[in-house]
Amino acid sequence: MRMEAAKIRPGDVIAKTLIWVFLILVCIYCLIPFAWMLSTSLKTEAEAFRMPPTWIPLKLTVDSYIGIWVRKNFGIYFFNSTVISLATAALSTFFGALAGYGFSRFFFKGRRFLIGFFLATQMLPGVLLVGPYFKILSKVGLYDTRTGLIIAFLTICLPFSTWMMKGFIDKVPDELDQSAMVDGCSRLGIFFKIVLPIVAPGMVATILFAFLLAWGDLLWALCLTSSEPMITVTLGIARTVGEFRIIWPMLMAGSLVGGMPAIILYVFLQRLLVQGLTAGAVKE
């Protein structure tokens, strides 16, 4: 046997080692907060305040995980967040696709301006819009409703979804539309039967974006809802802080559980993010 290893130069080894060390450090940096959350969530309230802190809880307990459902209304919060996020994701992606199809296929006056304008709205910080939205929703009686919150989120998500869906639809050759048209399909038929199925994998990205935006939001929920039955997960977690005291284990348990759906959704949909949406459709 020849010694292949002999060919590796010492410089390579050092460089490789350094890269690994660096990457491991970054990983630790990123993961420590989560480890700390997990550790704290499994402690008793008293131990959470112990100095010096312990990494491994002395007395393991899942009381906090039970507490958030029993002593707090996490069931309601989860329901609200789920409904709001799913609706935001579904609606913004669907309407984004419709609008994106229009932008992709129809050349009307002011088209370029409108596309640019759509994107420009993304540059506005959301905080600027909260005030006006509060006013508007109050006026039309949608303050402190899930619908109101969904509408608000759609404002933020739609331009982005539209822009992204336009990008995906642009990749679907126009000849497919025309072929379907000759085959007897209406415009809407083409959208549903040809374009939408082809860009489906691309929609994952916009669904994720909208879902995560709605799920992770605190500002809008804080400003546009007030009563307990309308509270979302993030708001619920925030409210465990400072009523009388901070129950750290419960706060951490809530945060971890609250983060789960987003993670699960991501892992689930990420596999659908496949390349080559239109493979085989046309000969380039």
């Binding site: 000849e175 025309q178 085989g280």
Partner: protein, 365 residues
């Protein structure tokens, strides 16, 4: 079955005129081929027939119906796109069935037709596959099958073979011809390949810059090109052109080129006499130039001296690129030729097949 008629049809994209007042009729059951160089407006013409593009001016008729305002789906046409445009998310079966399904055919009928067409095109084994699992030739068949299942009045083909490799192209060309005889429908077929046009067409329409330069039976167009453009476009290798003038001496007409002189045969004299005193372009097809040194190949004709530059044997023939004075010429001669590069050669020109064009108007005499 239907006839297609375009009357004074113009299409402008902004200030760019893609199709310029063309008049065109495809007879019932005719295989009509639109041929011309890239960008001459073939696709635009076809798309106006399909209804995928509005006409700027003029009328389109299918059968006796003016269809200017009829959407594509109601024109009873089927179109095969240059890039196939198969639905990538559907199986071959579903691709074929899609048009019928849109038109609410009963499932049993759809099944029957799809099976029949798949059999006809030899793609029965592929019905369950997705387009991405097919080869170029197979995709092409599916694209064609998708048009055929609908049994439309009119087929429109936009360069359907241009994405295939040479061998497959020849094979599919043969099958297309067979298909036309089987289906007995009107076909309008677009191609930039003049050989495809010549072999497939009942009638060819040569286009250039959005204008119809000539239409007619392939061999008619080949034998009697009406202008310089058609003469140069149809035929491969292309026709040779020489700047000439005509002189008359003692009742015989001669063409005088830069470095040669040919006597015009009696049959052509009357026609060419009108061209006297004009600046002219003489056209000679490469296949009408013979190597004089080959015994028994061609007698008669007029001699033409030249210098061989390149010898290209292609098997059945040898293509000679030569220079004659300041002009270049191409000749397709018998493979027995012993022509060598940089050697002088004496050709014989079959003067019965001379073409004469006016240099200014580019029209044939």
């Amino acid at each position: 079955m239907a006839e297609i008629r375009l009357v004074e049809v113009t299409k402008r994209f902004g200030s760019n005129t893609a199709v310029d007042r063309i008049n065109l009729t495809a007879q019932e059951k005719e295989f009509l081929v639109l041929v011309g160089p890239s960008g001459c407006g073939k696709t635009t013409t076809l798309r106006m027939i399909a209804g995928l593009e509005e006409t700027t001016e003029g009328e389109v008729y299918i059968g006796n119906r003016m269809v200017n305002n009829v959407p594509p789906k109601d024109r009873d046409i089927a179109m095969v796109f240059q890039n196939y445009a198969l639905y990538p998310h559907m199986s071959v079966y579903k691709n074929l069935a899609f048009g019928l399904k849109q038109r609410k055919f009963p499932r049993s009928e759809i099944n029957l037709r799809v099976t029949e067409v798949a059999h006809m095109l030899g793609i029965k084994e592929l019905l369950k596959r997705k387009p991405k699992e097919l080869s170029g030739g197979q995709r092409q068949r599916v694209a064609m099958g998708r048009a055929i299942v609908r049994k439309p009045e009119v087929f429109l083909f936009d360069e359907p073979l241009s994405n295939l490799d040479a061998k497959l192209r020849v094979q599919m060309r043969g099958e297309l011809g067979k298909l036309h005889r089987q289906l007995e429908t009107t076909i309008v077929y677009v191609t930039h390949d003049q050989i495809e046009a010549m072999t497939l067409a009942d009638r060819i329409v040569v286009m250039h810059n959005g204008i119809i330069m000539q239409s007619g039976a392939p061999m008619d167009v080949y034998n009697n090109p009406k202008n310089l453009f058609v003469a140069g476009f149809i035929g491969s290798p292309a026709m040779n052109f020489f700047d000439v003038r005509i002189t008359a001496e003692k009742g015989t007409l001669r063409v005088n080129g830069d470095n040669f002189q040919l006597t015009i045969p009696a049959g052509l004299q009357d026609r060419f006499l009108q061209a006297k005193d004009r600046e002219l372009v003489l056209g000679i097809r490469p296949e009408h130039i013979y190597d004089r040194s080959i015994k028994g190949s061609f007698a008669g004709g007029e001699p033409l001296k030249a210098t061989v530059e390149v010898v290209e044997p292609i098997g059945s023939q040898v293509i000679l690129l030569a220079s004659c004075g300041s002009e270049n010429l191409t000749a397709c001669v018998d493979p027995q030729t012993r022509a060598k590069p940089n050697a002088a050669i004496e050709f014989l020109v079959d003067t019965n097949h001379l073409h004469l064009f006016d240099k200014q108007t580019e029209k044939a005499y």
